[in-house]
């Protein structure tokens, strides 16, 4: 005589599907960030863990020739110097820009031995790297440009980063926030760029200073920088997370 199975395969599949549906539903109903519930976040986390575990963390993104440089669209959230763009406008930024950023400086705080402000001249003394790399936008387009800037790793060392530090947060004058982990922060191609295609960073490409994270898609490369905060814990003020975008975007 055949033993009665406690649960049939058919029942198991239906139970699985309905519970997955219930999880999805609760994810949609949850209003507070992080949005899109836990299921999509699971996939993004798996991508993060897998790419950190399986890929070489020192490998350089492809660097191109000068002849490969392309036109470069500006598709950010708005011009912080334009009072008409209420969501991103900063009076402070507008004044800095009017004075050609002579009074601009970058603050570095958090898990840092000597929190301080760096003027553009201070930054240029820390180090310099030039790279012709591809900007890969999540929308689907890409563009190649030559960037010159300060390697972020060198700057963090110069400021005396503490051993407990785990994440680096970038704050822009356009109220945009991004963060990356230490592996990307100390990646040789992660730079704070002040020069694009041989000229001072053009206004709408993030003047006077922007991040270049070449191992992730474009929206991690925050523009119009005003400050950097190094943290020991992962907090979620990022623009991408609060609006339902994946925090890690190596893919």
């Amino acid at each position: 005589m055949k033993k009665k199975r406690p649960i049939t395969r058919r029942e198991a599949i239906f139970a699985g599907l309905t519970s997955a549906g219930a999880l999805l539903l609760s994810g949609c109903l949850k209003k507070a960030p992080p949005t899109y519930g836990n299921i999509l976040r699971m996939g993004d986390d798996l991508t993060y863990v897998a790419q950190r575990g399986l890929l070489s963390q020192r490998a350089l993104a492809m660097e191109y020739q000068k002849s490969d440089v392309t036109s470069f669209p500006v598709t950010d959230i708005g011009d912080p110097a334009d009072p008409a763009m209420k969501a991103v406008y900063s009076k402070e930024y507008e004044e800095l820009q009017r004075n050609n950023f002579k009074d601009w400086s970058l603050s570095i705080e958090g898990a840092i031995a000597k929190p301080r402000k760096y003027s553009m001249d201070d930054l240029k003394k820390v180090g310099e790297r030039t790279q012709i790399t591809r900007h890969t936008c999540e929308e689907g387009w890409s563009a190649i440009a030559e960037w010159t800037g300060v390697p972020l790793g060198a700057l963090l060392k110069d400021a005396g980063i503490l051993p407990a530090a785990r994440f680096v947060y970038f704050f822009g004058y356009d109220k945009y926030t991004e963060s990356i982990d230490m592996l990307d922060a100390f990646h040789p191609q992660t730079i704070l760029a002040h020069t694009m295609n041989g000229e001072d960073l053009p206004a709408r490409h993030g003047a006077p200073l922007r991040v270049r994270v070449e191992t992730q898609v474009g929206y991690k490369s925050a523009k119009y920088l005003r400050g950097i905060v190094v943290t020991e814990k992962f907090v979620e003020p990022d623009a991408d997370i609060s609006t339902g975008w994946s925090w890690y975007t190596g893919i």
Partner: protein
């Protein structure tokens, strides 16, 4: 009635891959909608020439760009311009869904590959027999498909075998590898991907055409499943008795 059911692991893999493929198709279409322009080469964007553009969202042929400024120190004609319109972009959930479904596809696909080789599934059921390698048989099989003659033998026909092998060993590997070629982190570790697919935007275009080919396969597959005995075929791949 003849025993026709597939092995349990074949059914399971078919189920997961079907669902992942459908999720990948929907999310992939949503992702394409935010930039319905395709290019050939290392990079491409709204300010560079496209191969073609698809009329699938309000972003199609959008002229909302102002302040075209040349880069002063470049010898070429490269410019910068600011976008002035609110684009359609649902990539927040679109991308995350695409990659989550991609994980299901890849993990199941790897299990299917390993099981297919070691169980003899590929050798016994999918590889054409020696006697089948003849142009005449191939022609007959092709003609009978168009004449809508079906004769059920419980085994795959020649055309069917070639199609399945093409999907399993060519289209799926190409679509997965071109997908990975769009990843900045993966191509940093494996730059050969950018070489074999002729650059980031070429990989994206190949990814698109491979997905279209897979969708056409799905269409023909469903039509053939219905025409050659819908109920029997459906049971064989789902809840029917396993062989």
């Amino acid at each position: 009635m003849e025993q026709t059911g597939h092995k349990r692991w074949v059914k399971g893999a078919h189920f997961v891959i079907t669902l992942s493929f459908l999720a990948l198709t929907v999310s992939g279409f949503v992702i394409l909608m935010s930039h319905p322009r395709l290019y050939w080469g290392k990079a491409g964007n709204d300010l560079t020439p496209a191969l073609f553009e698809l009329p699938i969202s309000r972003n199609y042929h959008h002229g909302g760009w102002i302040k075209t400024t040349p880069f002063k120190h470049l010898s070429g004609s490269q410019v910068s311009a600011v976008r002035t319109y609110d684009i359609f972009n649902e990539n927040g959930w679109g991308r995350s869904t695409h990659f989550l479904a991609g994980w299901f596809l890849i993990i199941t696909g790897v299990i299917y590959f390993i099981a297919g080789f070691f169980s003899g599934h590929f050798r016994k059921n999918l590889s054409p027999r020696r006697g089948e390698f003849s142009f005449k048989l191939f022609w007959q099989d092709l003609v009978s498909h168009f004449r809508r003659q079906t004769h059920y033998t419980g085994k795959y026909g020649l055309l069917q075998k070639i199609t399945y092998l093409g999907v399993i060993f060519f289209l799926f590997p190409v679509v997965i590898l071109t997908g990975m070629t769009m990843s900045p982190a993966i191509t940093a570790s494996y730059p050969f991907l950018l070489k074999i697919f002729f650059g980031h935007q070429s990989a994206r275009t190949i990814h698109f055409f491979a997905s279209v080919a897979l969708l056409l396969f799905l269409l023909v597959h469903v039509v053939m499943v219905i025409r050659s005995g819908f109920k029997r075929n459906l049971l064989a791949i789902t809840f029917g008795k396993s062989s």
